[in-house]
């Protein structure tokens, strides 16, 4: 190590030492003599020396523009600026993530919209009865919070225009809710895929299923955007001891556990654990509350272990365990090769990601929920990667359900995926289309009562919007009547 001060420097006073030791009083004689010429060295204390470049004081800013020559001469304002930008103040750019947060924020209420009178609040029975078809009902506040927690609302939906979030009951809704109800009564697993054209209301139907599950005190697990799991935008790591290797997505799963815990707090607080989980980082004795188990997930590294333990508890064949709804939106994204890569730099199939594997195991019927429940996936047709096997499987299941001959594979096409076929081999398909004119009328009356549709709702108006919306496609009707320049 070198000595900080060389021996020669020790012979004369150093700048720092003099500044610290020298008293602030300046000898008059020195200052007077220094007035007329540039001093060889300054006797001014260090505190009064020229300010640092770029400091915030006015003198500092001035100093930034001053050019000092080697002989001590100071050039001020002698540089010629031609063209170029005058150093104007730029406004502060948003912080990382702020722009996306602004784009993705969800507003569920518009205080300008008129409150709709006589709007009944949904309860657990409304969506089970045929006679409520074509009625608009509002969501209870408690369920709104739960749905928000599981991210069931999407930023592209028009919740922000109305006073309170409300739902239109469709025949498909009643059908789905009754199937869910039957699955609990028969202790079976409802395995279902919601499909349909763009903007026909697939995500809303899924939201209705989530609503019903919350109202009926099911345990709800929701994956709001399947593409977040396969687009390689969240961390992943191989799960040790799995063959073939599976991958966990720690950060995503930690967030998922927190969402499950928060949304299902009421149900989970009643349940206690039935197994010892020695693999957990924290000791959770048998018959301790399940919320404590969910709380054990503090670090992303232990998230998958905790999630496996939680799933084992919830899906175990124990009396009194509530039914489970496991929902996923954007099915096409998990029916393809993911963007992740393994150690050999090969692409990983989506079904090798542990969370997705869990979902597809239940969707295919390999595993089942002993206390009943539903595994529901919705396709997304706007953001829809090509998956020939999934499309074929959907067509085949539909044809079988209608008692027709299922379409065959194309003989020379190589793009089929046997794992996707396996996952989809026995799921039910619910294909939704446009709504009827009666439902359109009910919806338009709701819009008009909210003050957002400024026309008389008669048969002519209903027919017009129904037709403009591609024979009752909900999203298109919204576009034609709410998101238009003709208000």
């Amino acid at each position: 190590m070198s000595v900080p001060n060389c021996m020669r420097c020790l012979t004369r006073p150093s700048a720092v030492a003099t500044a610290a030791l020298r008293p602030f009083t300046v000898p008059v004689s020195v200052s007077l003599t220094a007035a007329g010429r540039v001093a060889a060295f300054s006797t001014t204390p260090a505190q009064q020396a020229t300010p640092q470049k770029g400091s915030k004081t006015p003198a500092g800013r001035m100093d930034a523009r001053i050019k000092r020559m080697a002989n001590g001469h100071v050039r001020v304002g002698k540089r010629l600026h031609v063209g170029g930008k005058k150093g104007g103040t730029r406004p502060k750019a948003p912080l990382p993530g702020e722009r996306k947060a602004y784009r993705k924020r969800i507003q569920l209420s518009n205080s300008n919209a008129l409150p709709v009178k006589d709007l009944a609040e949904l309860d657990g029975e409304h969506m089970l009865s045929e006679k409520n078809v074509a009625k608009v009902l509002s969501l209870p506040t408690a369920v709104i919070d739960q749905l928000r927690t599981v991210e069931a609302f999407k930023p592209t939906q028009t919740w922000g225009l109305f006073r309170d979030p409300s739902l239109l009951i469709r025949p498909e809704t009643v059908d789905l809710m009754n199937r869910m109800q039957d699955s609990v009564a028969n202790k079976q697993t409802l395995r279902l895929v919601i499909d349909g054209d763009k903007l026909t209301g697939k995500s809303i139907l899924l939201l209705q299923a989530l609503t019903q599950a919350f109202l009926k005190d099911w345990i709800v697990i929701n994956i709001p955007e399947a593409q977040e799991l396969t687009a390689a935008c969240t961390e992943y790591a191989p799960i040790p001891g799995t063959e073939p290797v599976q991958y966990m997505q720690q950060v995503y799963i930690l967030k998922l556990i927190q969402a499950i815990r928060k949304a299902n707090e009421k149900v989970l607080s009643r349940l206690t654990t039935a197994y010892a989980h020695p693999e957990l980082p924290q000791h959770i004795p048998v018959s301790s509350p399940i919320l404590a188990l969910a709380n054990a997930a503090k670090e992303p590294d232990s998230a998958w272990t905790v999630f496996s333990a939680l799933w084992k508890e919830l899906s175990s064949n124990i009396r009194g365990r509530p039914p489970i709804l496991f929902a996923l939106d954007g099915l096409h994204h998990i029916m393809k090769i993911s963007k992740y890569r393994n150690a050999a730099f090969d692409l990983i199939h989506s079904h090798d990601l542990a969370l997705i594997k869990l979902f597809t195991d239940y969707l295919s019927g390999q595993a089942s929920l002993p206390n009943g429940g539903a595994i529901i996936a919705a396709t997304s047709r706007n953001n829809c990667p090509v998956s020939a096997s999934l499309e074929l499987a959907l067509e085949q299941r539909l044809a079988t359900q209608n008692g027709e001959e299922p379409p065959a594979k194309k003989p020379y096409f190589k793009g089929y995926d046997s794992r996707v076929e396996g996952a989809m081999k026995s799921a039910q398909v619910l294909r939704i289309k446009g709504v009827s004119k009666l439902e359109t009328r009910s919806l338009m009356e709701y819009w008009a009562a909210s003050g957002l549709l400024r026309t008389t709702v008669d048969e002519v108006a209903v027919s017009e919007k129904w037709m403009l919306g591609g024979n009752g496609v909900l999203g298109e009707m919204e576009r034609a009547s709410l998101l238009t320049m003709r208000l």
Partner: protein, 302 residues
Amino acid sequence: MPPRLNITPVCRTLAFRAKPLNQLPQISIAARAQARCFSDQTDGTVPQQPAGQLNPLSLPALGETKPDNTVNQQVEPEVPENHQDSNAAALHYLQLVAYGVDPRDPAVEGHKFGLPELPLPSEKHVKHRYDPIIDQMTRLLMKDGKLGKAQRDMAMILNYLRTQPPPRLNPARPLVPGHPAPSHFPLNPVQYLTIAVESIAPLAGLYRFAGLAGGGKAMEVPVPLHARKRRRIAFNWVLDTVKNKPSKGSGRAMFAHRVAEEIVAVVEGRSSVWDKRQQAHKAATASRANLNDARVKAFGLV
């Protein structure tokens, strides 16, 4: 050059007698519809008629009309009431009711959707279906000729305006007289935007006479502006301000939201557009004296 021999005057002298056709037996529309060949019936056979019904397809052609008395004889036997026909008519009426049309109204009898009200309201015309101010502002939003995108932007602006809380007006920046209470603004976003644009529209512009002020300088003369041009200037001021504002987010709604925020700022009197308007008015006032210039008067501008 027109041909010398024109056939039209010759045709005019020909007499057409419509009388025999008028005297043909009147057959109900439903009966005609029933008597038509089905389009999928390729052999051309006519479906069998109920007894006592006249087959309209077997009617004599126009040229070979028989004398009146024979026709009358054919019609005179009373046709028994056909229940199917009356049902069809009733069903037709019901369908009209379902379309929201009063079938008893003589004006709409025989029309599926009734007759249009005349003169045609502007929103029924495909080129004038939007509010004129909204239409003009949309075209000012347009870039690279993408009208569809501009229209979507305008729709998002209007939707933003109706989700914002009612504006708090600034008495120092009065809006156009006669505007409704601010609590009414958000539920009528078209009116909201109109009031904002009309309020900041400058009253006068400057006409520059090149070289008239001497020394190569232009002489500026205030001129009144048409409503359309006033709105154009006002909205362009808004767009200029928006262009210099930083964007808070990303995505397709961002531009529309920035414009809409500026509209709200205009109505609340926070926008710098008000200063631009004041400057424009000052410049117009200062150059009033130039109106007295003889050369300007000779030009006949005002």
